[in-house]
């Protein structure tokens, strides 16, 4: 229990950690989405390529946009970019730093999707089975052109009656899967090497500028959070004063209109203070009606002056 609370607090404390957490969750979500997706290649000549490439490239765009939307810092960066200069200069290096860190985090989930797709192989088999050269495969070598297009388009569908036990279908499928997996592993290797080099070589260039940019981007983020919290606190106090002011003005109205004798002996009861002089069903009804029909003005300066 304590451990869970500690982890939760750790992630909440630092906004960068929160963003890393969201990034990781999106990557996991993309893997889960892929495994739960029912991939069914249409196995028709013109549709295969569109479907295969669509499933490979459209979800990454969606995941990228989701990564930008869910990242709070992208809003902060946009506001900082578009605000008027006012009394505070704008530092383009900070904006660039924030932009690059947002983009890097948003790219993780799309890249995970593409790599998982390639390593699985179904998308590429579906997209490129129609573009294979039939002469390389014995079973398709001596077939007429339209027939061969039909047969090649049906390669991704194992259970189709035309190609069910065709050895050449299996050969094409294996070949394409091998290419797909090779491509997937190569992309993964290149990306990891690029990330490794970027992280390792960064201290060699502009370390001081980087530290400044990172500090001020954290500052802008924290400043905005504290501003929002202060506004909430302020509106709470404002509402409190406004309501008290309203009850007091009702009490004054009642005193003006009623002719009851003043209370003698303000003996014990603290309850009477809480009642604010409103001690009657009609008075309460009147108060509630006034609250609805004539809300008090948003001005507590008189309450202060009292």
């Amino acid at each position: 229990m304590d451990r869970f609370r500690m982890i939760f607090q750790y992630f909440q404390s630092n906004s960068e950690s929160v963003m890393n957490g969201i990034c990781g969750l999106l990557a996991l979500a993309s893997v889960k989405m892929y495994t739960s997706l029912d991939f069914s290649c249409p196995c028709l000549p013109q549709y295969n390529m569109a479907y295969g490439l669509g499933v490979m490239f459209v979800p990454p765009i969606i995941l990228f946009l989701c990564g930008l939307i869910l990242n709070r810092q992208s809003l902060v960066m946009l506001e900082e970019w578009r605000r008027p200069a006012g009394h505070r200069k704008k530092d383009l290096a900070v904006i660039r730093y924030m932009c690059s860190s947002i983009m890097q985090r948003a790219m993780v989930a799309p890249v995970v999707w593409i790599i998982v797709t390639l390593l699985d192989g179904k998308c590429l088999i579906c997209a490129f089975s129609g573009s294979m050269d039939p002469q390389k495969f014995v079973g398709f070598a001596n077939v007429s052109t339209e027939q061969v297009q039909q047969l090649l388009a049906k390669v991704p569908c194992k259970d189709d009656e035309l190609v069910r036990n065709n050895a050449s279908r299996k050969a094409v499928s294996r070949y394409l899967r091998c290419c797909s997996q090779a491509l997937g592993w190569s992309i993964l290797l290149i990306l990891i090497i690029a990330a490794f080099l970027a992280r390792w070589l960064r201290p060699c260039f502009n370390q001081a500028t980087l530290l400044q940019a990172r500090h001020w981007s954290n500052y802008i983020d924290i400043e905005q959070k504290i501003f929002e919290e202060t506004c909430c606190e302020h509106s709470r106090l404002f509402a409190h004063k406004c309501i008290l002011h309203f009850f007091e003005s009702m009490q004054q109205e009642i005193k003006l209109h009623s002719f009851s004798l003043p209370r003698e002996g303000d003996g014990a009861e603290g309850e009477e203070d809480l009642l604010q002089g409103i001690t009657d069903q009609d008075q309460v009804n009147n108060l509630l009606k006034t609250w609805y029909y004539e809300k008090p003005p948003l001005d507590v300066s008189q309450a202060h002056q009292r």
């Binding site: 229990m1 609370r5 939760f8 997706l37 029912d38 069914s40 249409p42 196995c43 028709l44 549709y47 569109a50 479907y51 669509g54 499933v55 459209v58 979800p59 969606i62 946009l65 989701c66 930008l68 939307i69 809003l75 946009l78 506001e79 970019w81 578009r82 605000r83 569908c157 189709d160 009656e161 506004c231 509106s235 709470r236 509402a239 406004c242 309501i243 009851s260 004798l261 003698e264 002996g265 003996g267 014990a268 009861e269 309850e271 009477e272 809480l274 009642l275 604010q276 409103i278 001690t279 069903q281 309460v284 509630l288 609805y292 029909y293 004539e294 809300k295 008090p296 003005p297 948003l298």
Partner: protein
């Protein structure tokens, strides 16, 4: 248990986080509802379209309305919209902000349902199986059939067990084709929704950021003010009830003492708190009378200033004001022993 309480407190602390939590729960509920739903295509020519499109479009509408119903702020919006002007002006920008943020949150669960339905493919397969292009998918060698026959055969595509048109068009081919179209539509829909959300979110800081901050502050203010007013009224009602009941007991004991016509017992000086709390009612008969009176004849909602010190039922000093004396007299006459 602690874990739930912590998560609950986190969501409660911030009103917006709470609404986001409800929004996420509804999205999960909509996927769960879809997977638990037993989809049964009727496999008849005209019913397929109605059933498929109905399953695609009616639950999102219900989820959208449910999203509004579950949102606490809807009553706040309605109240702010309909209240008379009074001494406080109304700001249309605040109303628009509140409505937009509620509508955005309510749209998420329906969008999830439509996406899941399209990506799964069963609805579109059921709805459009009679419109499958036979020229591209059909077998060349089949006996010519009338239009109605063809429609009836094609309508059975989603129901594999009773499908008898294998010569017309293979079942798997048609299903694959329809599912491919459905998934393409699904991905396009999700892409469109995500792009819209991204544009809405990213274009806002570029225009009217100051107006946005103002609307957000005042909409929070209205919400907090309403809650604080309810709390203040609840406290007032508590004090009101306490004083009302105290005065009822005092009134009862005073009446009984007056009716018995014997000298009032002065509470001994060292009675202590417990004796004070007894409010002058010290035997079973009196207590039963007090309870019966509370049920049969509740006191009026009118508190009089305390003319009596608390503690004993002595109706001695001080003048009670004119208003409450009349009902009290009636009460005394009704329940007197005489």
């Amino acid at each position: 248990m602690d874990k739930f309480r912590m998560i609950f407190q986190f969501f409660q602390s911030n009103q917006e986080s709470f609404m986001n939590g409800i929004c996420g729960i509804m999205a999960l509920a909509s996927t769960q509802m879809y997977s638990a739903f037993d989809f049964n295509c009727p496999c008849l020519p005209h019913y397929n379209l109605a059933y498929g499109l109905g399953i695609l479009l009616v639950p999102p509408f219900i989820l959208f309305l449910l999203g509004f119903v579950l949102n606490n702020n809807i009553s706040m919006l309605a109240e702010e919209w309909r209240r008379p002007r009074g001494r406080r002006g109304k700001d249309a920008a605040v109303l628009r902000y509140m409505f937009c943020s509620m509508a955005q949150r309510a749209m998420i669960a329906p969008a999830v349902w439509v996406s899941v339905t399209l990506l799964d493919g069963k609805c579109i397969t059921c709805a459009f199986c009679t419109s499958v292009p036979l020229q591209t998918l059909g077998n060349a060698s089949h006996p010519p059939l009338s239009q109605g026959e063809v429609q009836r055969v094609l309508a059975r595509i989603p129901c594999k067990e009773i499908y008898n048109g294998q010569q017309l068009v293979a079942n798997e081919v048609a299903v694959r084709y329809l599912r491919c179209i459905s998934q393409a539509l699904g991905w396009c829909f999700v892409l469109l929704m995500t792009t819209l959300a991204f544009l809405v979110r990213s274009l806002r800081p570029c225009f009217s950021q100051a107006a946005f901050l103002k609307s957000r502050y005042w909409s929070h203010y209205i919400d907090i003010e309403r809650k604080l007013f309810d709390e203040t009224c609840a406290e007032h009602a508590r004090s009101f009830a306490k004083v009302c009941i105290q005065q009822f007991f005092e009134g009862m004991s005073t009446d009984l003492v007056a009716a018995r016509c014997h000298l009032p017992r002065k509470a001994p000086a060292d009675a202590g708190e417990a004796a004070e709390k007894l409010l002058g009612i010290t035997d079973q008969g009196t207590m039963n009378l007090a309870l019966k009176s509370w049920h049969r004849c509740k006191p009026p909602l009118h508190l009089h200033p305390p003319a009596l010190p608390t503690g004993n039922g002595w109706a001695g000093e001080g003048q009670p004001p004119r208003h409450p004396s009349a009902p009290r007299k009636e009460t005394a006459a009704y329940y007197s022993w005489v």
